[in-house]
Structures are given as structure tokens and as C-alpha cells.
């Protein structure tokens, strides 16, 4: 029924239509790994076995595309990605929901992500810029093209790695395995394929943009948190340490008690708002990363 593994994969992809992109990618690479291994091993035992017959036997044992798709859908339904959805207590008061953000794993994950993004962003940016400029300048040499291919492959690899970070911290389902290139290609064809694949370029753009984004996330987060913490610290500074909240070269202004309480509350408010902001940014960044890095 199926002449090649590619035919089976095409059918499997069709059966999986509508599932999560990342699940589809996982299912396709699992099937490819298994079927190719099975065919190779069957033909090793019986060398005169036709490739098609071997493939048919392998598929009989592996399951039809419909059966395989059903198995993935079933398991996917039961497994939540990354940090699970955090609190799911419903119908709480507005205040409860507002301050409940501190109990959200997603919010803390987003904060961690925004801090890490400064480091990973700079690394991606450096790698992308160096790789691009070396690839262009080496292109006059004989080893220029293999170098460019290696660089582009490393970009796809880093995209996969970034996907793992995004899934763990932002809770967006991302691919767990690389997509295989068609087999038996010469490296020149492979390079052409990478060059024509829009996801190579999207991943590269993602890597370049990750530095400004990472810097923005990091400075936004630290500024807001430092601001909130200093507001919270103000009442303690005056009441316990006698440090005036407002001080110029000639005057020291101590605030009345009620003003200190208000300032402290404002600090708690901005800190909580920052948590919400981080969660929102995490959500947005998750969508964006999925759009840029997950191959259809």
C-alpha cells in the first residue's frame, strides 16, 4: 500500500491535521526513525526481501497512520506541557485573582525567562552575526559553502534549544525533536534546501531580535522591581533607620505615617502589576516563539 516511508509520513501528517504543530513534528520523526530502522533490520535478516514488502510488514506492526495519530492524540490529551498551568482555582474575588499571580508558576517562569533572555539573546546575536559574516566572506573559498551549511544547521539546532527553554519556562508546547531532512541528499542539495526553507531565516531573525528583546525584558523587569522594592523599603527606612524619604543638600523631609503606609502599599501594587506584566509578556513571547521557530 505504501511505497516509501515518505508516503506514510504524508498520510500520518494528514491524519494529525488539527493537532498541535509540535505533536505533529514529534510523531513524524518517531515514525520515520522507527520505520527506517525496521525496514533496514528486516532486510538485514532477509536480504532478498523487497523494500516495499519490508515496509509493509513494518507498517503492519507499527500501526496505520490513523492508529498512530490516535495514539498521539490520546497521550497528548493527558500530558500537560512544561510547567503546568499553575493555579486553576476558579471564581475567586478580584483581589484574590490580582494577588494570586504570586502563586502562578507561569508568572515566575516568565520572569526567569526574561532574565535569562539577556544572556541567551546576546549569545544568539553574536553567533548569528559571526556566522553570517564568516559565511559571506568565506564564500569566495572552496570551504565557504560547507561552512555556510554548518552554520545554518547550527541555527536550526539553536532554534530547537530555544524551543526547549520556551516550553519549560513559558509553557508553550514546542518541538521535542528535530525534523529530519530527506535522506540521501548531497550536501550541496542540503544547503539549497536550508537556504530555501523559510524557517531557517525565521530562526535567524529570531536570534538577531532576541538581543534587543532580551535587553528590553531585562531592563524593564529590573527597573520595575527595583522601583517597587524601593517604595516598599521607604517606610522601613524612615521608621526603623531614621533615613528621610526625601533629602536635598539642605533639607530632610520626613513624611507623616499615613503617607509612608500609602507609599509602601503603592510599592506592593507596582510589584504585583510587574508580575502580571511579566506573565503577559511571557504569553506573548511564547506565541511569537512558536510562530518563528515551529516548522509547519
Amino acid at each position: 500500500m505504501y511505497k516509501t516511508v515518505e508516503d506514510y509520513l504524508a498520510d500520518l501528517k494528514q491524519e494529525l491535521a488539527g493537532s498541535d504543530q509540535a505533536t505533529i513534528q514529534d510523531a513524524l520523526s518517531d515514525a520515520e526513525e522507527h520505520l527506517r530502522m525496521a525496514v533496514a533490520s528486516l532486510r538485514e535478516d532477509k536480504p532478498d526481501l523487497a523494500e516495499e514488502t519490508a515496509l509493509q510488514t513494518a507498517i503492519d506492526q507499527y500501526g496505520s497512520p490513523a492508529e498512530t495519530a490516535a495514539a498521539y492524540a490520546e497521550v497528548e490529551r493527558r500530558t500537560a506541557p512544561g510547567l503546568s498551568s499553575g493555579v486553576n482555582r476558579k471564581s475567586r474575588s478580584f483581589l484574590g485573582r490580582f494577588f494570586g499571580v504570586y502563586a502562578h508558576t507561569r508568572a515566575w517562569g516568565a520572569i526567569l525567562y526574561m532574565l535569562i533572555a539577556l544572556v541567551t539573546g546576546s549569545l544568539y546575536f553574536t553567533w548569528a552575526v559571526m556566522g553570517l559574516s564568516f559565511s559571506v566572506s568565506f564564500s569566495i573559498f572552496i570551504f565557504g559553502l560547507p561552512f555556510a551549511l554548518l552554520f545554518l544547521l547550527s541555527v536550526r539546532g539553536l532554534a530547537l534549544l530555544e524551543g526547549r527553554i520556551v516550553e519549560a519556562l513559558l509553557g508553550v508546547r514546542m518541538p521535542r525533536r528535530p525534523l529530519f531532512a530527506p535522506r540521501g541528499l548531497k550536501w550541496l542539495e542540503r544547503l539549497k534546501m536550508q537556504l530555501l526553507d523559510k524557517y531557517t531565516w525565521l530562526a535567524l531573525i529570531y536570534m538577531l531580535l532576541q538581543m534587543p528583546l532580551g535587553t528590553l525584558y531585562f531592563s524593564l523587569l529590573t527597573t520595575l522591581f527595583v522601583f517597587s522594592l524601593s517604595l516598599i523599603a521607604m517606610p522601613f527606612a524612615q521608621l526603623l533607620l531614621q533615613i528621610p524619604p526625601i533629602q536635598t543638600s539642605s533639607t530632610m523631609i520626613f513624611l507623616p505615617f499615613w503617607a509612608l503606609i500609602l507609599i509602601g502599599l503603592a510599592g506592593i501594587l507596582t510589584a504585583t502589576l510587574t508580575m502580571h506584566l511579566a506573565r503577559g509578556i511571557g504569553w506573548l513571547h511564547g506565541r511569537y516563539a512558536k510562530f518563528m521557530l515551529v516548522t509547519e
Partner: protein, 122 residues
């Protein structure tokens, strides 16, 4: 009329969904080195004789789900012939879980056997 084949298939499927996790965890618990999907599928095929209880394709999503719950660890390695393979190993948490699951399985097995034999009641 009762469609026995369909009902039997349904029962088999429902039983498999739990058993597959236990079986895969146990295979990797006994394995001396990391194993990849096809290796595991082949081993299970050899053990089950002629009756194939579940399609091999259904093992992979279960492996992945065990790995994402931290019971297994996995790692992709390139192979000489063909696409890269994902190797799975059991984690410490996986071993602990396997012990508990084995106990649960033994209890379930003896419970079901007792009921099916009809011993102990009447």
C-alpha cells in the same frame, strides 16, 4: 446483536493505556544501557510471541510522556545508517515509581484473578 470484536478492541485499548507505561518503564528498568524506540518495540515483540497486543507506533507517545513526567531521560544520538535515534534511560524517580507500580500491578493482578476464578466468594 453485540459487536464483540469492537468491544474487545475497546477493552484491549483501555487496558493497554495503563499497562504500556508500566511495561515500558519496566523494560528500561531492566535495561543495562540506554535503549531506543525500535529496540524496545522489537524486544516487546519477541516477548509477546505471536500475539501483538498493541501497535508499536503507540509506544512512542507513551515513552515521550514518561520522559516529560521525569521518569525517563532521553537523548538524541546520530546513527551511522538512517535518522538519529532517541535513546531512553530510566531516572532515579523512574525506578522508585516502577517499584510502586509493580506493587500496584501485583495487587490488581491478584484481585482480578481472584474475581475471575470466583474463589473466596459464595
Amino acid at each position: 446483536m453485540v459487536d464483540q470484536t469492537a468491544l474487545t478492541k475497546k477493552l484491549q485499548k483501555e487496558m493497554n493505556s495503563g499497562i504500556a507505561s508500566l511495561v515500558l518503564l519496566s523494560v528500561l528498568g531492566q535495561a543495562k544501557e540506554p535503549m531506543y524506540g525500535y529496540q524496545i518495540a522489537k524486544l516487546l515483540n519477541d516477548k509477546s510471541g505471536n500475539t501483538s497486543l498493541m501497535k508499536q507506533g503507540a509506544l512512542y507517545p507513551v515513552l515521550r510522556s514518561l520522559a516529560s513526567s521525569g521518569l525517563l531521560e532521553s537523548q538524541v544520538e546520530p546513527s551511522v545508517s538512517g535518522p538519529p535515534r532517541r535513546y531512553y534511560t530510566i531516572t532515579a524517580a523512574g525506578r522508585e515509581t516502577l517499584e510502586i507500580w509493580t506493587e500496584v500491578w501485583n495487587q490488581t493482578k491478584s484481585f482480578v484473578e481472584n474475581i475471575l476464578k470466583g474463589t473466596g466468594n459464595v
